[in-house]
Symmetry: C2
Subunit: 356 residues, 2 copies
């Protein structure tokens, strides 16, 4: 006796096909390769589907076709503004396409990342977006063994697993420090929190620039593995002043820290930029609004997410990009906080772009 597992009211592809007067497989094709149908049938299936309010069963599709339409996204943090901008770009790009995002949070742990990667790959994602270039060797092998398109995000480097989009953190930081040097600063401090790979590369950019200028001094560097915050910016700055009271400028590895430094200066009656220059990194919205306005390095986060998702989707549809590594560049947004009064400051924006 036939079991009744199927609810009678349920609309399956068969029902649509019946109403349209075609075979189920033809109806199926309408949803995947409509251009393969004659106009006649195409219209018939379309109206039948609409009339019945048909919605494809994704699980059945995935099972039958042995693939999903899911793009896995691995990011280190859900809270950090940087990633929420990237995410927004990704979701915007995917919106309207037939693909779906599966998001997971690595919490800045490459072991956690590897674990999540295994989970994702087991479900045969259509594509993958991962953050950074510092995966575990196992993660790397897993990704290389996979045939779905993969984009590495936030950085650039010379051996992408597949595709890559980002910018050089070291170069961006170099540009910011050079600007401070141009302003006549000699004792430029570095403040960094969390010290994830990207912050570390910014630090390398700082260190190299200072070394080249003959100004490197370990007392000028204050970092912590703690997650970033505005409050922490104030604390780190206090530490910096304790170690190097003659500091004349601070480069903060992100904008939260910079805001914290600004507040701490105010608390200590240190005038900015007269006595202390401040630069941040990322150019969050508030930097342009602070008093004084705060210099920062603008990165194209939304664009990065959007382009990454577009690259993945294009690759899945067989349109491989001409260049596998996309450098989105950065822009040093020079503002009041790093313009020494009396100096001939280039108030204009200093642009550093992909092509260099």
């Amino acid at each position: 006796m036939a079991r009744k597992r199927t609810k009678p009211g349920k609309i399956r592809l068969t029902e649509v096909a019946k109403l349209a007067g075609v075979s189920p497989i033809t109806a199926s094709r309408f949803f995947r390769t409509p251009e393969a149908l004659s106009i006649n049938k195409r219209v018939r299936v379309e109206s039948a589907a609409k009339e019945l309010g048909y919605v494809p069963n994704l699980a059945a599709r995935a099972l039958a076709s042995q693939r999903t339409e899911v793009i896995g996204v691995l990011i280190p943090s859900l809270t950090n503004n940087v990633f929420s901008d990237v995410l927004r770009g990704i979701y915007d790009a995917v919106d309207g396409s037939r693909y779906t995002i599966q998001l997971a949070n690595t919490r800045y742990s490459i072991l956690q990342e590897e674990k999540l990667l295994r989970v994702f790959l087991a479900q045969k994602p259509a594509g993958l977006i991962v953050t950074g270039i510092d995966q575990t060797p196992e993660s790397r092998s897993l990704m290389e063994a996979t045939d779905c398109p993969i984009v590495q995000l936030m950085e650039i480097g010379n051996n992408p697993v597949d595709m890559m989009i980002g910018f050089s953190h070291a170069d961006a930081c170099h540009a910011a420090i050079s600007h401070l040097l141009d302003q006549g600063c000699r004792r430029i401090g570095f403040l960094g929190a969390r010290m994830d790979p990207r912050v570390q590369r910014r630090f390398l950019g700082y260190q190299q620039t200072m070394k080249e200028a003959g100004l490197a001094d370990p007392r000028l560097v204050v970092t912590t593995p703690l997650p970033t915050s505005v409050t922490l910016g104030g604390t780190l700055f206090a530490d910096l002043l304790a170690k190097a009271p003659d500091t004349d400028a601070v480069f903060c590895a992100n904008d939260d820290l910079a805001l914290g430094v600004l507040f701490e200066c105010r608390r200590r009656q240190i005038s900015v930029p007269e006595q202390m220059l401040i630069s941040g990194f990322n150019d969050l919205e508030f930097m342009a609004s602070a008093v004084p306005t705060l210099t920062s390095v603008r990165t194209n986060r939304y664009e990065m997410g959007r382009t990454a998702a577009t690259m993945v989707i294009d690759a899945m549809d067989g349109r491989r990009p001409e260049q596998r590594v996309v450098d989105l560049g950065y822009t040093v947004m020079v503002r009041q906080s790093t313009l020494r009064p009396g100096r001939s400051g280039r108030v204009a924006v200093e642009r550093q772009s992909a092509a260099e």
Copy 2:
């Protein structure tokens, strides 16, 4: 002739069962209701699965069982800090469980929300988390017709679709305004951006409190449908001062606006709190770090997300909560920006909790 669609190396449940010396269905049960197996078989299946590196095929499971292990989450914004905190709570709660998050962004549109809801429901999610209580009537019907657990987030009200967790925005705002009145303020401005339902309820709380005090004045209210930003806070504050130059305090519907007001005060040499009191809403991290420190209303966003996800998971596992509506309350964090010098300010935190 049998077609070869299955790759030879692939590990299916059948392979695991064979190695363990049990039937496939028994192996299947191991992954769903291990307690139903005898210790003997449980161990055999477990080691067989591990040896083969078996990973269940979720699509097949979903198709066969007619349900998924996906929790759909609908939030209005990916950028807003408020939601990233909530999201983090949700992801943390789901982490380790067998459930998966499917996230979608309504962009503050209830029509978009309805559309996404249809997509989600068509895939038979195990549970649903939606933002707010202002769905379209169609959305409401769709949700009521569904039998999966649903949590409405960010607000409380008296007719939940299913479950609800949040706090009263009007009450929270009332508490903040009352505090300003206590400080002797009479011309308290209201600044609001985006004006989504939650901000509107905060506005109602403001309006009612002012009316009760006999201090309501439309000139004290400046709102805009534009998305919020620090810069916008400055702009709205400028508008407010133009309309009501005698304003002695500002309540900002969120903290970004409050920070913008602080900067604008600095720009205009208005001293805080001597000449102007400022209160924000949400209590983002930077509020406690600003100079002067800024008063705000703390809401338990992370907890909200975490508890919402836990409630959904518990309900799916058959553990319905004793109370369907959970009020997480709020706390007015009184700081320097709203303490009139010379006034006997209650510097301590004023707590308003669920039980009231």
